[in-house]
Amino acid sequence: MPTAETNTFAGPNWTRTQDDYHLISGAGERAHAAGLVNASWYKCPVPRPRMKQLMQREDAQAIRDTVLWYALIIAAGAVLVATWGTAWAWLAFFVYATIYTGPADSRWHEAGHGTAFKTRWMNDVLYQMACFQVLRRPSVWKWSHARHHTDTLVTGRDPEVAVTLPTDLLGMFLNLFSIKSGPRELWRVLRNAFGILGEEEKTFVPEMEWPQMVKEARVWVLLYAVLIASAIYFGSWLPLALFGLLPVMGGTWLYTFFGLTQHAGLPENVLDHRKNCRTVYMNPVFRFLYWNMNYHVEHHMFPMVPFHALPQLHETIKADCPPAYDGTLAAYREIIPAVLKQAQDPHYYVVRPVPVTAA
């Protein structure tokens, strides 16, 4: 079994390219050879009784936050409907799309882990709804995220590397508005609906789940057909502004803004989440929108701890972790120069100060 000490991925003659990230014919075989696949990662010591406390599930906080979130969506949607046809509609659309899609990323994520609610069906319902709102195929992204947790930022293995190197700055900018990723994901939905599955996706989604992928895609195609039919029937773009691809394009910027703090600029191919994840202190509004995913070292190290317990987990292990960033801007003061530098030098990364007392 590989351990946290195993890391011989990057030889002196390795020239990194974007092709390395492909899950087929990428750098995955190199990762296997280096012992980085399905390896043992460093874990901060937490006594079992404390961990059992932190892992406990509850419904109340997630119900409160979910009701509040959907109330905000409905309110913003009502404003959009009321202002439709006026110049204010652009601003109303931006606000609505941001609220509709931005927090859907963290809801997709937490419900996908099954840790948002104690009640299982509530996780499942929120997962399906948030997936549609953030435009992620439910089964594919469930398994994609499992792989992300197994092989976090392992080149050629992790399908969810946000900033692939050398940095594609134009692509990053376009994807602030889902200009590349949105239509691409919809195209994949359409292909799935016809029973055509991506070869890379087949590497991390088990074959027994493939029929479910097709079924979900067909439901989505039906939903999009209803949306388009509504727009034609009413002779208005409004239905398409409220649901589907357009609000995704308008609101992706928010979850990207949060999401880049997770790993951008940090090293790949290290078996220690303290080195490849950031924990960033965020204000209460951001933490509500992001469901505490700013505690990202903690989440990756102990993914069974629900969002509401991550601050307590942080207090439990922080002495064994690099210091948290004082705020989102503090994180971006590091991320932006690092990502710009990685556009020229893909071997550059930020080194986090792991405590010397730790392994």
């Binding site: 961990m51 299982r120 469930k142 197994t150 069974m304």
Partner: protein
């Protein structure tokens, strides 16, 4: 012929909890719930992760790595990202000791 193996005292496992038991190069997970004991293979069927580090919620154990869930009573996988059931083993309490009929 039965081959019941003594694992631990019942009091060594909290209610709604799990402990790891290694025997003959095999890892088992032994659970206590509602004054009954259960035993399954100790590693998640999805990837190499010890279930003894996970969370027991009534009769469900959750894998600590990807939150996959199994029913500890029959080993049934309860949904992605686990698909393959866990192997289970007969378990009982005798004289305050947990006994498990281990695999061959």
């Amino acid at each position: 012929m039965t081959n019941w193996t003594e694992v631990c005292a019942l009091d060594d496992i909290d209610d709604e909890d799990v402990m790891r038991f290694d025997h003959n190069n095999h890892t088992y997970a032994v659970y206590r719930y509602n004054d009954k004991v259960y035993a399954t293979d100790g590693l998640c069927t999805h990837e190499h992760v010890h279930l003894a580090d996970g969370l027991v919620m009534e009769h469900v154990v959750e894998c600590p790595k990807h939150n996959g869930r199994f029913d500890i009573r029959d080993g049934r996988a309860l949904g992605a990202p686990v698909c393959i059931n866990l192997k289970t083993y007969p378990a009982k309490v005798e004289g305050g000791q947990v006994l498990v009929q281990l695999g061959g």
